[in-house]
């Protein structure tokens, strides 16, 4: 894996925020590479800098200094519009709170990123959206609106939305944070499946449990990498899901 060139490269990234007179150093020199096909979790407590890291990885924020090379492109100096183009073509976001447009059908939600990609025709858009929904097992719900869907289903729509533009990396931000354990595992099954199909995934979480489903865990603390370990013993989400007690036995 190390012979392959990385899909993204983070080189001495620093990010400072000015809060009045004070400067907060959210990231203080972070270095790591992610290679194609990796499933990396980024862990850390709140204030560790993981959200800042995610925003930079997602090209929504720019580092104060350092280099960020995504798919061969230097992004650290790009303007707003250029960053939007990168987000549109190379990145798929999955959020904690799904962020689906309400009163808008699943398929239209999935089509949304392609609307900002002028090269895609309407029929092509629809075809790819259906395909993405099939990959998350929701093709038969494509005309449902979000409030007709469960939390897990909404998150699957969101994953389909992240897949539809065929990004080089999927960035998940606490994607299981709003879900119960069973549903979390279901979602992790999907991520593992996508990873098996070759998708590169960076998954930000604060739950150590979730990290066991990924092949590598980067732990941040106080703006620096504390640990960057390969997980030799990746837990299979499907097995973990099946090992859970059946839902009717859970007493809540």
């Amino acid at each position: 894996m190390s012979e392959k060139s990385p899909i993204l490269s983070i080189q001495d990234i620093r990010r400072d925020f000015k809060m009045g007179d004070e400067t907060v150093h959210a990231l203080r020199g972070v270095n790591f590479n992610i290679h194609p096909g990796e499933f990396v979790t980024i862990m850390g407590t709140s204030g560790s800098g993981k959200s800042t890291m995610l925003n930079i990885l997602g090209c929504m924020d720019r580092p104060t200094s350092g280099h960020y090379i995504l798919d061969g492109e230097h992004t650290e100096k790009l303007k707003r519009d250029a960053l939007a183009r990168i987000r549109s073509k190379k990145i798929g976001f999955v959020f904690q709170s799904y962020n689906l447009l309400n009163r808008t059908t699943a398929i239209e939600n999935v089509e949304l990123p392609l609307l900002y990609n002028s090269g895609v025709s309407a029929s092509e858009r629809r075809r790819r959206a259906i395909e993405a929904l099939e990959r998350v097992g929701l093709a038969e719900r494509m005309n449902h609106v979000p409030n007709q869907l469960s939390g897990g289903q909404q998150q699957r729509v969101a994953i389909a939305r992240a897949l539809v533009n065929d990004p080089v990396i999927i960035l998940a931000d606490e994607a299981t944070g709003n879900l119960d354990t069973r549903t979390s595992y279901e979602i992790m099954m999907i991520f593992q499946e996508l990873n098996r199909q070759g998708k590169t995934i960076a998954f930000v979480t604060h739950e150590p449990d979730i990290a066991t489903f990924s092949g590598r865990t980067i732990t941040l603390r106080d703006g620096l990498i504390k640990k960057d370990v390969i997980n030799e013993n990746v837990q299979d989400a499907k097995a973990a899901f099946e090992a859970l007690p059946p839902p009717e036995m859970i007493d809540d």
């Binding site: 925003n55 997602g58 929504m60 924020d61 707003r80 519009d81 939007a84 183009r85 987000r87 549109s88 073509k89 976001f93 959020f95 962020n99 447009l101 009163r103 808008t104 949304l112 990123p113 609307l115 900002y116 990609n117 002028s118 939305r161 533009n165």
Partner: protein
């Protein structure tokens, strides 16, 4: 993003908030409808004045007694016009080529079972020339030969009322029990838009009216015809001189008022211009208020959808995509309001025209201008909220609850 796609997104957002969209559209509808109707009203009266000007003859000069105002009460001045004035003007004035008195009696003209509530006008033969009337059939009476004769010349409306199925020439009409023989009919001049009917006239020699009907020697008005365009002022001056000389007038005030047709038209048009200007300004203000309504709604909309904006940016929308999305919304609102408002304004103009009998004329210009103004309103009032939306920081926007 393709403009069509943006328009679709904007339209969908508007449809999701039907009530709100309806109310902001309504603001524009009212504004535009008001503008269209008010301009139609102003245009209509302008056109009808113009029509009247041609109908009346633009060289006409009208002489009438100066009204004395004391304590707000109008009094007839002691100076009255009489036949001698008429003769003096006819003989001495060089800038006029026709002169006629105007003495009137109100009443009903009756023929058998038919009647016509038409004012009887005592004039001289020149009156036809002064007011652009022409004989259709028969002859006009002669000032000398028919001095007090019981004859008349009638307009087409009177013909229609009194002689629906027969030739009026040679027949007799009764006016206040006095029989008047019809010796001529006038060509139709059509109606002025202020409701007066130029064909609803009965002309008879002025002496007939003065002696047989009203028993007076006073003449209310004298009409004269200046020799051509641009001679009205000279004619006025000359006539005033003749009238003063006859009376040995030395006081600084004039004994009579002399109007030229041009002056009257100017007075009427400038008043109606002012009224339509004021109305249009008021209508314009309501359109402006409608625009502020749009701006208000767009602000609410942007704030309410901050998270949506954040999401759209996160998945690749550029600032300008967001900006145009919101700009499209405001433009759609205002253009929709414009279209409905124009339709409503035209309908309202028709209603006013038909039910209130006012001259209305919807001008193409006002429709085009209203539509353009709506577009500008949409862009203008949508601009700031849309720009605000486009400048949101995606991270902050996504975090917004």
């Amino acid at each position: 993003m393709a403009p069509l796609t943006l328009a679709k997104i904007a339209l969908r957002a508007l449809l999701r908030n039907r009530m709100r969209t309806f109310l902001s559209v309504l603001g524009i509808v009212i504004g535009v409808a008001a503008v269209i109707t008010m301009v139609a009203m102003g245009e209509g009266s302008r056109i009808s004045i113009k029509e009247q000007m041609t109908a009346m003859g633009s060289n006409a000069v009208i002489i009438m007694p100066n009204r004395d105002r004391r304590g707000g009460v109008q009094m007839e001045s002691s100076e009255m016009l009489e036949e001698a004035d008429l003769i003096a003007i006819r003989e001495q004035a060089t800038y006029i080529d026709g002169v006629s008195p105007m003495v009137t009696v109100g009443g009903q003209a009756i023929v058998g079972n038919n009647n016509s509530p038409t004012t009887l006008s005592g004039v001289s033969a020149d009156y036809l020339k002064i007011r652009n009337y022409e004989i259709e059939d028969g002859v006009m009476f002669d000032d000398e030969a028919d001095r007090m004769a019981k004859v008349c010349v009638i307009g087409q409306s009177v013909v229609k009322n009194l002689f629906p199925d027969e030739d009026p020439i040679g027949k007799t009409i009764r006016y206040k029990s006095i029989p008047l023989k019809v010796i001529g009919t006038l060509k139709s001049k059509g109606s002025g838009d202020f409701g007066q009917d130029n064909d609803d006239v009965i002309f008879t020699p002025y002496q007939t009216v003065m002696r047989r009907f009203s028993a007076t020697t006073n003449i209310r008005q004298i009409y004269a015809n200046s020799i051509g365009e641009g001679y009205a002022d000279k004619a006025t001056e000359e006539i005033m001189g003749i009238l003063k000389e006859r009376r040995g007038w030395t006081r600084p005030t004039d004994p009579f008022r002399i109007f030229t047709q041009e002056e009257m038209i100017q007075t009427i048009t400038s008043t109606s211009d002012l009224i339509s200007l004021v109305l249009t300004i008021i209508a314009g203000i309501s359109l402006f208020v409608g625009g502020i309504g749009i701006m208000n709604i767009m602000y609410v909309s942007v704030t309410e959808r901050t998270k949506e904006i954040g999401l759209r940016m996160a998945i690749g929308a550029r600032g300008r995509d967001i900006m145009f999305q919101f700009l499209f919304e405001s433009v759609i609102i205002s253009l929709l309001g414009g279209i409905i408002g124009i339709a409503l304004g035209i309908a309202a103009s028709e209603v006013v025209k038909n039910f209130f009998n006012m001259p209305m004329s919807v001008s193409i210009t006002s429709v085009v201008v209203s539509f353009a103004v709506c577009f500008v309103t949409g862009v203008f009032f949508g601009w700031y909220p849309a720009r605000k939306a486009s400048r949101l920081d995606p991270i902050e926007a996504l975090r917004f609850e």
